[in-house]
């Protein structure tokens, strides 16, 4: 009797031991998340393409917002209604931006994700090797991979005067080398523009637009790098009058940060010179969109581009391409340069200029490319920095990167 009981107990234990394993494995699958390897299929490529673009949009609005604050385009005023982020003030003053400034984290971290999503899409699409969205996926991966590297090179730096970024936990890559990497990516993207699906995209709607846009991007990289000859070659193949702008897109769910921070609240305001432009020529209001904010006896100017949650932001327009051409031909063929500028002006109903010098070109860029993050690199390139030496001309590579990346070691605040 005893032996039987012992036997039963032992069998019960064994049964329990094995069935416990099966029991705990039997859980409902996740509904809101999916494992990486289940996305390795041609019909998931469109989902991945949209993810890259989504990440682009969520970092781009913040990026150009901070770039505006760092430059002389936007400024912080503690008296303005709703201004409260000391991190934004710190960026505006630029004299001592802490590396743990969490507004900078708010751009640097998603930029890393954008770069990863883009590179990851290339790798994945290459290994899948088939499907109707294959070319679209490869184009997206290369294009946005190039764009991410462009952003590192243009907007971030290790020290106040040293621009550049980091890829995948590696060493610091100075701007010049980073632009080369961006160009490499954009160049490869040009090999993948033969894609019918462009017609269904909300942002890049045809093969031709894809090609011209990519050339404009390459031109911009060369221009900011300082290689005028290469820049000119690509700008000539870039966007043309009539091309739709390439923009980052938003919705009520994933909204444009400018709507909240530079409209509902006034964390940054637009420099007064923009009002002066309109005073000098009222037609400038067609492209310099601003409105007045008043509080008691104080008043400021605020941007009027992004007044709804879903307002898109320009990233490259045919007008910008024209201005690049103008800049590149300024000394060698001033008349042609002037024509480029006037083409841009005409598109906004503005009277043409009669002469064009560097100062006028800079002013044109200031007005045309307002709120798209161009002012910061322009101030550096044209040596018109508005603050004393020793201030930050780039957004600092963040403390999170330094803490986790042994190749970067910088001292305390």
């Amino acid at each position: 009797m005893k032996k039987n009981i012992v036997f039963i107990i032992v069998m019960a234990i064994l049964a329990l031991l094995t069935s416990c394993d099966n029991y705990v494995q039997d859980v409902d699958p996740l509904i809101d998340r999916v494992e990486d390897d289940r996305l390795n299929s041609p019909d998931q490529l469109d989902f991945l393409i949209k993810g890259v673009k989504h990440r682009f949009s969520t970092m781009y609005d913040n990026l150009v917002f901070l770039a505006g604050g760092l430059s002389d385009e936007l400024y912080y005023d503690a008296n303005a209604p709703g201004s409260s982020f000391p991190t934004l003030r710190e960026i505006d003053l630029a004299e001592d931006i802490r590396r743990d400034n969490n507004s900078v984290d708010g751009v640097f971290t998603p930029l890393g994700e954008l770069r990863f999503f883009a590179d990851n899409l290339v790798t994945r699409a290459t290994s899948i090797g088939t499907g109707e969205d294959l070319e679209g996926a490869l184009f997206t991966g290369y294009f946005f991979g190039g764009l991410a590297r462009f952003f590192y090179a243009t907007y971030f730096g290790l020290y106040q005067e040293q621009g550049g970024g980091v890829i995948d936990g590696g060493p610091f890559i100075p701007s010049s080398d980073m632009y080369d990497l961006a160009i490499e990516k954009f160049t490869e993207a040009l090999n993948h523009t033969d894609y019918e699906g462009f017609a269904n995209w909300p942002d890049i709607t045809s093969k031709e637009m894809a090609e011209r846009l990519t050339h404009s991007m390459i031109a911009r990289c060369y221009l900011y790098k300082g290689d005028a000859a290469s820049a000119l070659t690509h700008a000539e193949m870039g966007m043309q009058e009539g091309d739709d702008p390439f923009m980052s897109l938003y919705s009520a769910i994933t909204n444009n940060v400018w709507y909240y921070q530079a409209n509902e609240r006034h964390q940054y305001l637009v420099d007064d010179r923009f009002a002066d432009y309109i005073t000098a020529d009222p037609n400038e209001a067609n492209r310099v969109k601003i409105y007045k904010v008043e509080s008691g006896s104080l008043s400021w100017w605020q941007q009027a581009f992004y007044l709804t949650l879903d307002a898109p932001i320009n990233c490259m327009t045919w007008q910008e391409n024209e201005l690049m051409l103008a800049e590149l031909k300024l000394t060698s063929d001033n008349a042609a340069a002037l024509a480029h500028v006037n083409k841009v002006r005409a598109s906004h109903g503005l009277d043409p200029l009669t002469t064009l010098d560097e100062a006028a070109l800079i002013a044109e860029r200031d007005k045309e490319l307002m709120t798209t993050g161009a002012r910061l690199p322009d101030q550096r390139r044209f040596d018109i920095w508005h603050l004393p030496a020793g201030t930050w001309k780039y957004l600092p590579i963040t403390q999170s990167e330094i803490n986790g990346n042994p190749n970067l070691d910088v001292g305390p605040e």
């Binding site: 107990i9 329990l16 031991l17 416990c20 394993d21 029991y23 705990v24 494995q25 039997d26 859980v27 409902d28 699958p29 996740l30 509904i31 809101d32 998340r33 494992e35 990486d36 991945l48 393409i49 949209k50 989504h54 990440r55 503690a78 209604p81 709703g82 409260s84 000391p86 003030r89 003053l93 802490r98 743990d100 640097f108 971290t109 890393g112 994700e113 990863f116 999503f117 980091v166 890829i167 995948d168 936990g169 909300p202 942002d203 897109l249 919705s251 769910i253 509902e264 609240r265 949650l309 879903d310 963040t398 999170s400 990167e401 803490n403 990346n405 042994p406 001292g411 305390p412 605040e413």
Partner: protein, 971 residues
């Protein structure tokens, strides 16, 4: 053949020697000779039993063929076991019971399903007799029953709002993995202890424990570490809290076995720390928001029983308001516990608790809509949100919750007991937030609505088999085999919309824009098998060993599983003949156990993607980063100690413990350039060691009919050190102040020190001299904690209770101070800046927000006054966190109460003879705090209970001072 014959003879002989036993007698208190009624009298071997009546008499009849042992059991007295022979005269027994002041015979849990008494428990027993506490005092929430009453356990609210979350810290904090929070069982059912709240109101979540009514609790036991909690498996590595609710008792007298209890409690909460104008320019505005919060609590319980059934039912209504507007809790709780004995071999228990809880929360912490954020940061208040607009923000959580269990105990054979317990904790929560339109809220001036729903169901099943036998004379064996299964399903959904055309219609469907929507679903299971074996020699030496095998769900990888062993030894020194009689108990104990944390549900999956919607439709973005090579963490604990009782009036308990965790799982931030930042990646980064001591001294120097003095003193020491991070970089919290780093205790404040002021050649202050390397600034977890309490019963019916608790060697980072200084709200900083000539101009970190102070003269550089001002100014520089880390040692007069029992007076009045008990009392809580900390309260944490951030004060709300008046009536 001979054997068979002998057997037959034995049986015949036995059968023919069957006696009819007629047992009669009286049970008394050994000291006073007072009769004791309601004493449980039974024969363990057969289960036959009875209870003594109101005069202490008992009568039991049965048949017996040999000697039998009778057990006399009564709460507050030591259990007596006496052997009788059926042939002796049993008609006039006089049984005297000895008092059990220190409850050494009370049944305690020392592991899952194992039950023993404190007199032989192998681990330090941490037990609070809650039903006694609630008799003499009144408590608003469960943590108040634990604070200062158990050695080695800290249970703190994470904010001062009503219904706030709790944060536990046991011993030296266990392993590194997880959030240091123990698992909570109520009546053997694992309950949800999540920090709730889908909408952001700052760091204060609402605890699921806020649903538990303190009046329903019989006792709370805590297994503090792996040595005790090993049989709970992975859930036990941060400790296990076992809450038992009241069950029916046979309460004799008045001819009825039913007891009705009604308790009414009225009181109020008030602000005790007033912000001062010396620290904040805007102090008056901050103080103006505070109010007193009334408390009204009514509890009614009906309990009773007889030989076949015992029951306890209660209804409780609790209404409490906090010290800031828009914070209240309205809780209704219903409970019924039943115990049935349908057969002498079977006990059936079942019960249920249904709670309806409505809590509203004020906006606070890191929040532009908060009361404190709008009155403590800037010298001009309400810059972000207007004061009326803040008050109009509504945040309401309504939860209804049911916790129910059923338990069957079956003893088919004399020494075999089978137990099956099944239970469920099911809760439904709905949270609504409303920002009415037209009040100018930044971000959503046209109003916003937010709805969050959470449904959580968790199911616990425990089955165990217990077998006891005497292997030889004097060697007793107890074997326990069991299994435990846990299954949890949770579903959540959120919806957020903004921009309403009119404030008259606030239905979320009227919002112009939907700005967030989503749902979530979690399903997880744990299962374990455990075995425990006890050998007891002569009731003096005990050897216990056991093991548990644990499993948990993981999605996508093999189910993680692990073995956890335990072993312990107990020696009752007082049983030696040579041992001095004055020490009526001296127990040496040593215990070892292992437990730990299994990887979380999705931790083993390298990359998880989710869908994010925006301007392009729904696209794939990363949701979490995992680690396929993840292994379970293991926490080992060794504890030694002794329990002593002296002259039956003094008790002393001492425990030394050592915890060591290896393969601790902790999330590491990948550098942003990798793009793998959707979550921290879990790693087994290494090891942490902790050790400490716990001591408790209890004394009852005076005990008579009219006077009794009970004293209790607890002292704990704990320390820990991260010994190995496996080569990883130190891990900082999001604010770069608390760190996990080799060679330091966890959560240590580790930042750059400010060494003094620097000056240029003309003597002008040029900024602080800052260290180039980080250094340690102390720890937010105190090294020394303790409490002292006294209960003094005088003039027979008055009861005075006083408790003080303290903590020393801890620090708090005053982030409120940092921001206030930064925004120009620090009068001293402003004055010094004016004296140094840098207010209103000069470097940005000062000039931007600090205006020159009227009437303050600028000092001349180079002069001693200037230098002194500069040195002081350097220590207030808000850019360096080290300047705002303060000593936060504290001593709190935690509880004072005075009550009077009318029972004697009532006995003399015939009209009141049905009243069994009438007590009236007053109490106060958080009466006074002595502390070095200059901020509001050294006990709050702005990031709530669940993060790497510890000991940071950022606009959190202080714990209130509370006054109560209560009346307790028993029929």
């Amino acid at each position: 053949m001979v054997k068979k014959l002998l057997l037959v003879l034995c049986i015949v002989f036995t059968v023919s020697s069957l006696f009819a036993v007629d047992l009669k007698g009286i049970v008394r208190d050994g000291k006073t000779q007072e009769a004791l009624s309601g004493v449980n009298i039974y024969i363990a071997a057969t289960g036959i039993g009875t209870t003594s009546d109101e005069d202490g008499y008992f009568h039991l009849t049965f048949d017996a063929d040999k000697d039998f042992e009778i057990t006399f059991e009564y709460v507050g007295y030591k259990t007596l076991r006496k052997t009788f022979s059926p042939t002796e005269d049993l008609s006039k027994l006089v049984i005297d019971l000895e008092e059990d002041i220190f409850q050494t015979d009370a049944i305690v849990a020392t592991g899952l399903a194992s039950r023993t008494s404190k007199s032989v428990a192998e681990v330090a027993v941490a037990r609070v007799q809650a039903s006694e506490l609630t008799q003499m005092n009144t408590y608003q929430s469960v943590n108040q029953l634990v604070t200062g009453k158990i050695a080695g356990v800290q249970m703190k609210p994470s904010s001062g709002n009503v219904g706030s979350g709790f944060r536990f810290y046991m011993r030296s904090g266990g392993g590194l993995n997880g959030d240091e929070q123990p698992v909570i069982y109520v009546d053997g059912i694992r309950v949800d202890n999540a920090q709730l709240g889908g909408d952001y109101v700052g760091g204060q979540g609402v605890s699921a424990l806020a649903d538990l009514n303190p009046e329903d609790i019989e006792d709370i036991q805590v297994l503090k570490g792996s040595a005790g909690a090993a049989t709970y498996g992975t859930n036990g590595s941060n400790g296990v809290v076992l809450i038992t609710t009241k069950k029916g008792k046979i309460t004799p007298g008045m001819g009825s076995s039913m007891a009705i209890n009604y308790k009414m409690n009225l009181g109020y909460n008030e602000q005790w720390y007033k912000y001062s104008k010396d620290k904040f320019v805007s102090a008056d505005d901050a103080n103006a928001n505070f109010k007193t919060g009334p408390i009204a609590k009514h509890s009614l319980s009906i309990s009773g029983g007889n030989q076949s059934i015992k029951y306890f039912t209660s209804f409780d209504s609790h209404n409490e308001e906090g010290i800031l507007p828009n914070n209240y809790m309205d809780r209704k709780s219903f409970r019924g516990n039943v115990e049935v004995y349908p057969h002498e071999q079977v006990t059936l228990r079942f019960g249920g608790n249904y709670v309806l809880n409505e809590i509203t929360r004020p906006q606070n912490d890191n929040n532009i809509f908060g009361f404190l954020g709008n009155t403590l940061l800037f010298p001009q208040s309400y810059r972000f949100t207007d004061s009326l607009a803040i008050r109009r923000i509504e945040n309401v959580l309504v939860s209804n919750r049911f916790i129910g269990y059923a338990e069957l105990v079956y003893s088919p054979l004399k020494n075999l007991e089978a137990l099956v317990r099944v239970g469920m904790d099911q809760s439904d929560l709905r949270e609504d937030t409303t920002f009415p339109p037209g009040l100018g809220y930044a971000l959503w001036p046209d109003g916003q609505r937010f709805i969050y729903n959470r449904n959580n169901k968790q199911f616990t099943l425990t089955g165990s088999l217990r077998y006891e036998t005497d292997i030889t004379d004097g060697l007793h064996s107890k074997s326990l085999l069991g299994t435990q299964i846990f299954d949890r399903k949770a579903r959540t959904s959120t919806l957020q919309g903004q921009d309403f055309s009119t404030e008259l219609i606030s239905d979320i469907g009227a919002a112009e824009d939907v700005t967030a929507y989503g749902e979530g679903k979690i399903h997880q299971k744990d299962a374990g098998i455990f075995f425990e074996q006890t050998f007891a020699w002569q009731n003096q030496y005990y050897l216990i060993f056991g093991v548990r095998r644990d499993y948990a769900s993981t999605v996508g990888t093999q189910a993680a599983s692990i073995w956890y062993p335990k072993a312990s030894l107990v020696v009752r020194m007082d049983k030696y003949d040579w041992f001095p009689r004055t020490l009526n108990l001296f127990k040496l104990r040593a215990a070892y156990g292992e437990s730990g944390q299994l990887p979380g549900l999705t931790d083993g999956i390298p990359l998880l993607w989710t869908a994010a919607t925006g301007g392009y439709g729904a696209g794939a973005v990363l949701s979490s980063i995992g680690n396929a090579k993840l292994e379970p963490e293991r926490v080992k604990e060794l504890e030694f100690g002794f329990d002593a009782e002296f002259l039956n009036r003094y008790a002393f308990e001492f425990t030394y413990y050592r915890q060591s965790a290896s393969n601790s799982i902790i999330g590491l931030e990948e550098p942003p350039s990798t793009g793998l930042t959707a979550s921290n990646r879990p790693f087994n980064i290494g090891a942490i060691e902790g050790w400490g001591i716990e001591t408790m001294l209890q004394a009852t120097p005076v005990k008579s009919q009219d006077f009794q003095l009970d004293l209790s003193l607890i002292y704990n020491y704990q320390t820990n050190e991260v010994t190995d991070l496996g080569g990883a970089q130190p891990i900082f919290d999001g604010f770069d102040v608390n760190v996990i780093k080799e060679g330091l205790p966890k959560h240590e404040f580790y930042t750059y020190a400010v060494l003094g002021a620097t000056f240029d050649d003309s003597g002008v202050y040029t900024g602080p001299d800052v260290a180039t390397e980080r250094s340690s600034f102390g720890n937010p977890i105190p090294t020394n904690t303790g409490s002292f309490s006294t209960n003094f019963r005088f003039l027979k019916n008055f009861n005075f209770y006083f408790m003080v608790d303290w903590a020393s060697n801890l620090k708090v980072f005053d982030n409120t101070g940092v921001f206030a200084t930064r925004f120009g709200n620090n009068p001293e900083f402003n004055r010094l800046a004016t004296q140094l000539g840098i207010a209103g101009g000069g470097p940005g970190y000062v000039a931007y927000f600090v205006e020159p102070v009227e009437g303050v003269e600028e000092l001349t550089p180079g002069t001693p006054e200037y230098k002194a001002a500069a040195e002081k100014f350097a220590t207030l520089d808000w850019r360096y966190d080290a300047n705002y880390i303060y000593d936060a040692d504290y001593l709190k007069i935690r509880e004072i109460s005075l009550s009077y029992t009318f029972n004697d007076l009532l006995k003399n009045v015939s009209a009141f003879r049905y009243i069994r008990n009438l007590t009236i009392g007053f109490s106060a809580r958080n009466v006074f705090t002595f502390t070095d900390y200059p901020g509001a309260d050294p006990e709050v944490n702005f990031a709530g209970s669940r993060s790497l951030i510890r000991g940071q004060d950022f606009l959190t709300l202080q714990n209130p001072r509370t006054y109560n008046f209560f009346v307790q009536l028993g029929l």
